[in-house]
């Protein structure tokens, strides 16, 4: 394990959630506009409502482990977001929580395992594949990139940075795609030329993870 590789603590994870809530709030209008182009103009509103609820519940629940944090966020998203994004993000957090149950803090392998589990949750619920122009197009390359870094002996920080870079690339790659899942699929060929809102909010999430790892290391 490289010298700069500190494990991610419950506090770190709370910081990720707090920062992501702030990032979503700051990008609320942007995400609404992306969704207006190929959807129904609510993705930013939905996630913003959900992340605010997540913060409220975390403040109440005072979770003791990373799994508790992830589980609290999951239930907040499931019961407050609605739409497609609520169950999808919610299941991702839920599965991630389950994958790290019992751990006091998360090493690099725990983290990529949690991300893989989260992706598994998104796919199990939404049945989308890479190329369908959904959040999977951000998640799938991100998880793969993180796994590669860790397999090659890289640090958490390096893994999460690689994930964030890959997620952003995947997000941009959705622009020319023709949507086959979610609301944008109703547009058929007219969905091409627009960036997927869910892939965008996912890339923002991976970037927050990377930034927090960067600062806590």
């Amino acid at each position: 394990m490289p010298s700069d590789d500190l494990p991610m603590t419950t506090r770190d994870l709370l910081r990720v959630i707090a920062d992501y809530a702030a990032v979503v709030a700051a990008n609320r209008t942007y995400l609404i506009e992306l969704d207006a182009a190929i959807g129904d103009a609510d993705h930013g509103e939905n996630l913003d409502r959900g992340m605010k609820a997540a913060l409220d519940r975390l403040a109440e629940a005072d979770p003791g482990t990373p799994a508790d944090v992830l589980q609290t966020v999951a239930t907040a998203l499931i019961s407050k977001v609605g739409g497609a994004a609520g169950p999808l993000y919610g299941t991702a957090f839920l599965r991630a929580a389950t994958s790290v149950r019992g751990r006091g803090e998360l090493g690099a392998a725990d983290l990529v395992g949690a991300l893989r589990a989260g992706l598994g949750g998104v796919v199990a619920r939404g049945k989308a594949e890479v190329g369908d122009k959904t959040m999977v197009d951000a998640w799938d390359p991100a998880v793969q990139a993180a796994e590669q870094v860790v397999t090659a002996g890289g640090s958490t920080r390096e893994a999460l940075t690689a994930a964030a870079d890959a997620a952003e690339e995947g997000m941009r790659a959705t622009i020319p795609m023709i949507a086959r899942k979610g609301r944008a699929s109703y547009l058929g060929e007219r969905s091409a030329g627009h960036q997927d809102p869910g892939a965008t909010s996912s890339a923002l999430l991976f970037r927050v993870f990377a930034d927090v790892a960067d600062h806590s290391s």
């Binding site: 609510d42 509103e45 609605g82 699929s185």
Partner: protein
């Protein structure tokens, strides 16, 4: 954005409060989680019928709660499907021991949230069957896509299925009937302009002064194509052609013709469209035996309309004609 609202964040709760105040004889409203339940529910031995989805399509669904139609509705935020919480609460509130039918419009969010709620209900011992309505022929269907959207056919399914539950049909029969309605109904919509989602604050899309959007979704999702504005009769033909072709509807079919306003279309225009639609169908030998004209599944203030055609059988006619008493649809009592 110009709307008669106080705060976009409270618009659904405030509207539900108004609904409860205006129709307290029919429905009661629960807030947080938000759901609307018939004052008669639960009724011992009666299948509960629950629907829901994003708000902004009023009177759908909350306006159809009452005698002979829905037992409960779960209105999500504007254009956003409800979460499992209110669906679960509504499902439990209307269960009279005979199980509950979920009528779900085919949108990823609606399907996922209703699915989760159904699982949770089952875990609590309430039997749920779900039927997904996907009648919008504007959308190409395939195994590899999210499939067709649920639109106008939902209103007809809720009325017909609600009447079957009211007369005491069991859950399997009610669900089978709902699938039969869905298999025999097709819809297509158009818009002259966009609606404005309160939390977005500006129109979802822009259309030129001489353009219209064909195949629009009820959430202001862009449609199949954007074409120059045409006279009413041409628009009607443009909507009816894919509907008739898709099913296909054939000479001798008995149908219910439903011309629906999207919220911002004067009734006068809906009747102009209705007149031509019935004429075009008659020319093809398709008999219109029941009809519905008005704003029943809307997109906030969107100017536009949709046409829905349902192939009727004797049982559906009888159930359509059966008494209904809800805030938005009422006859026979």
């Amino acid at each position: 954005m110009k709307k008669i609202i106080n705060d976009p964040a409270n618009v659904v709760a405030e509207a539900l409060t108004g609904l409860a105040a205006a129709h307290g004889d029919l429905v009661s409203v629960h807030l947080d989680p938000d759901y609307v339940v018939s004052v008669d529910a639960p009724r011992r031995g009666k299948v509960g019928v629950v629907s829901g989805g994003g708000s902004g399509h009023e009177p759908l669904h909350a306006g159809f709660v009452g005698y002979g139609m829905l037992d409960a509705a779960c209105p999500g935020p504007v254009f956003t499907s409800p979460t499992p919480d209110p669906i679960l609460a509504a499902t439990k509130a209307v269960d009279g021991g005979a199980g509950v039918l979920h009528i779900v419009k085919n949108y990823t969010g609606d399907v996922l949230n209703f699915e989760t709620a159904a699982e949770l209900a089952a875990a609590e011992g309430v039997g749920v069957e779900a039927v997904v309505i996907d009648d919008d022929v504007a959308v190409r269907d395939s195994l590899y896509t999210a499939g067709r959207r649920g639109v106008g056919g939902t209103v007809l399914a809720e009325k017909i299925v609600g009447a079957a539950a009211q007369r005491g049909d069991d859950l399997a029969a009610v669900a089978a009937l709902c699938r039969r309605v869905n298999d025999n109904v097709a819809s297509m919509g158009m818009a002259l302009d966009s609606c404005t989602v309160p939390h977005a604050g500006k129109p979802t899309f822009e259309l030129g002064p001489d353009e219209m959007e064909i195949g629009i979704g009820i959430h202001g999702e862009p449609g199949r194509e954007r074409v120059p504005l045409e006279p009413a009769n041409a628009i009607v033909e443009r909507l009816l052609a894919p509907i008739v072709e898709d099913m296909p509807f054939e000479s001798g079919d008995r149908t219910l013709l439903f011309v629906n306003g999207m919220g911002g279309t004067p009734l006068m225009e809906l009747y102009v469209a209705y007149a031509h639609a019935e004429k075009v169908l008659a020319q093809r030998g398709i008999a219109v035996e029941r009809r519905l004209v008005g704003n029943y599944i809307t997109s906030l203030e969107m100017p536009g309309m949709s046409i829905t055609l349902l192939r009727l059988d004797e049982e559906m006619i009888e159930l359509w004609d059966a008494p209904v008493h809800t805030p938005a649809l009422r006859w026979g009592r």
